[in-house]
């Protein structure tokens, strides 16, 4: 059974529709991410789960109970705020114990549970400190402990990593995943960082302009995006515009400039103008003309070296340049080409997606 059911939820503010008819089912113990660019409505969605906003239409069920209009302090969910919102006038221990103290949990139990929660986030030794004596990462752990100590049915995290530096972010991502497995609580995280969502979440909902575009596992989202937006937002993608000329059991045949008529596997119905999508790392770059798959000739216009990989842009005879990611799997890979060289790009038909334009 779903722990959270978001059914036909719409939220309108004056002049804008922040969330437009969202339908999301989140399973118990799932690590669920809501991913989207700034202003896509993901934070509004989270705030409706927490109770800070009320849906204009639709209903939200938590553990089978309609909480659409329930006050935030009456919901079995807790939130880690983007700014952490750690109370500056209380010690770390008092912060963590706050949620228990105000709901009438006896002082001794409050203290014990707060200490346990601090231990869980490895801050047991800092209980008597004030928040202004902590680093950003430590404050986040306090916010985390403060929410988890309430043993909520769902933990909501609003862009929790946005204020951390890259190294700490990676460490916290691993830690959050570990914590989620340890406490067995449903986590719902809102983020605009696709790496974060892909690496941590069991499933991801991608949002754009208030609408949920796709809900899928990270692998499906990356390999089988259902729209140009999702394909483009998650990772990099090359899009080649073409026209559908026919369909068969093998897939659809698309006429694309410089590629000619190619047949790619595609189960859904497709017709008229479409885009062929292929990920940069699925493309092979060779000097000689390849003898199988889809291929296109172009000139290298840009070569960005990242150590483990190189990101290369190749300009075909017309149209947009194509991105290629090359694994620098030998020390001499770098010698394989240079800006200005004519090269062939090739990839397999089954690595190609057909997306509506």
């Amino acid at each position: 059974m779903s722990i959270i059911s978001i059914r036909n939820v719409t939220k309108k503010f004056v002049g804008i529709t922040a969330v437009d008819n969202a339908n999301i089912e989140i399973a118990a113990n799932e690590f669920f991410a809501v991913l989207g660019p700034s202003g896509c409505g993901k934070t509004t969605l989270l705030r409706m789960l927490a109770g800070f906003e009320t849906p204009t239409a639709g209903e939200i069920l938590i553990d089978g109970v309609d909480v659409s209009t329930t006050a935030p302090n009456k919901r079995p969910v807790n939130m880690v705020f983007q700014s952490y919102a750690v109370f500056p006038h209380m010690t770390v221990l008092a912060n963590v114990g706050y949620g228990l103290k105000v709901t009438g949990v006896p002082a001794a139990e409050t203290r014990q549970r707060a200490e346990e929660a601090l231990e869980m986030v490895q801050l047991a030794h800092l209980g008597e400190r004030k928040p202004d004596q902590l680093s950003g990462g430590q404050r986040q752990r306090v916010a985390l402990a403060r929410a988890l100590v309430k043993r909520p049915k769902v933990l909501l995290l609003d862009e929790p990593m946005s204020a951390l530096d890259a190294k700490l972010r990676e460490q916290m991502q691993l830690e959050l995943t570990r914590l989620q497995e340890e406490v067995g609580i449903t986590f719902v995280i809102v983020t605009h960082d696709q790496d974060e969502a892909l690496s941590m979440a069991d499933r991801i909902a991608v949002m754009q302009s208030g609408r949920v575009e796709q809900i899928a596992t990270p692998e499906l989202l990356y390999e089988s995006p259902n729209s140009r937006f999702v394909a483009d937002f998650i990772g990099k993608v090359n899009l080649l515009d073409g026209q559908v000329t026919g369909a068969s059991d093998q897939g659809v045949t698309v006429d694309v400039a410089h590629l000619g008529k190619v047949t790619v596997p595609h189960s859904d119905h497709a017709q008229g103008p479409v885009s062929l999508a292929v990920r940069p790392e699925k493309i092979r770059m060779t000097v000689s003309r390849p003898d199988s798959g889809l291929f296109i000739q172009g000139r290298i216009v840009d070569w960005a070296y990242y150590g483990d990989t190189s990101h290369i842009r190749v300009q075909p005879a017309s149209g947009l340049p194509m991105s290629v990611t090359v694994q620098n799997d030998t020390r001499s890979t770098i010698d394989n080409g240079d800006v200005g060289d004519q090269v062939w790009l090739s990839w397999q038909a089954e690595d190609t997606l057909v997306l509506d334009r």
Partner: protein, 301 residues
């Protein structure tokens, strides 16, 4: 701020006028009053002069102020009236400041204007206006009478008896609250507006009621504003004499009135100066309390 060493001329040009003003129109007059408080009426040709004062470094003025219970009682009463007025200001101003801080940006300037507007009218006129509100045939009594008559209570209990609202302690407190309200609202507004809204949301999210959130999060986090407001209202309340003069009765005198009388009617400047300094020491006490309180806020859970 290190640059004042490099640009000494700029520093003196900028700091000069202010320092000059403070020195000649504040510190030196204050010193004169302080010296005056150790003086007594001069004896000229064997007669005590009415107008001339002689500095004899006597402590008689302070002894008189502290020994005669009349003055201590008035100081004590002034403190209590000021405490009451300040507390009322806080209780009324906090929700007002809260509403203004949480109002939409379109409304906020207008609401702030409504709070500041009375400042644009002379204090004397505002206080006289209060007389029109509180007197026997004033607006409060008119309103009460109208309600009384509308409810037909006059047929049950006889005609409406107007309330005596003027020339007593109530009128003085009401007047002080009215006059000094903006001094409370503005610092409170400033601190509530700076408050991170997610703190309040976090408190609610953790299961605290609205009231618990107010008492455990909002009030402690806006404590600097509360303390500033208390000080800004309490100190001028303590020294005010106009309000008590116009709205208070003969027995509602505050220490400000006594001091004023010493300087004017009684022409006893040394005693007036001594009373002024006693009042100032009380004010210092209030400021010391503030310092103590704000240090407390830092360590309290």
């Amino acid at each position: 701020m290190e640059s004042y060493r490099k640009n000494q001329r700029v520093f003196w040009v900028l700091a000069g006028p202010g320092s000059f003003w403070l020195l000649f129109f504040f510190l030196i007059p204050l010193g004169i009053v302080w010296i005056l408080s150790f003086g007594e009426k001069a004896v000229i040709d064997g007669k005590i002069s009415i107008t001339e004062t002689e500095i004899t470094w006597t402590l008689a003025n302070y002894v008189r102020a502290l020994a005669d219970p009349v003055y201590l009682v008035i100081i004590w009463k002034s403190i209590w009236i000021s405490v009451l007025a300040t507390t009322l200001c806080l209780v009324i101003a906090y929700p007002v400041a809260f509403v203004i801080a949480f109002a939409t940006p379109r409304w906020r300037p207008w609401l702030l204007l409504a709070v500041i507007l009375p400042f644009w009218i002379n204090l004397l006129i505002r206080t006289y206006a209060l007389i029109a509100v509180f007197r026997i045939r004033g607006y409060v009594n008119f309103t009460l009478e109208w309600i009384y008559d509308t409810l037909w209570l006059n047929r049950l209990f006889g005609p409406f008896e107007p309330l005596e609202l003027l020339y007593n302690d109530f009128a003085v407190v009401a007047g002080l609250v009215y006059v000094f309200m903006p001094f409370m609202v503005l610092p409170l507004f400033a601190s509530i507006e700076r408050l991170d809204r997610s703190m309040l949301e976090a408190s609610l999210d953790l299961g605290a009621s609205q009231l618990a959130t107010l008492l455990r999060v909002t009030v402690p986090l806006t404590m600097p504003g509360i303390i500033s407001g208390l000080i800004l209202v309490f100190i001028p309340c303590l020294g005010s004499f106009l309000t008590a003069d116009l709205l208070g009765g003969t027995n509602a005198t505050m220490i400000g009135n006594v001091i004023e009388r010493q300087f004017k009617a009684a022409n006893d400047w040394p005693f007036g100066a001594a009373l002024s300094f006693l009042l100032m020491y009380v004010t210092f006490g209030a400021l010391a309390l503030r310092a103590l309180l704000s240090r407390d806020v830092g360590t309290r859970i």
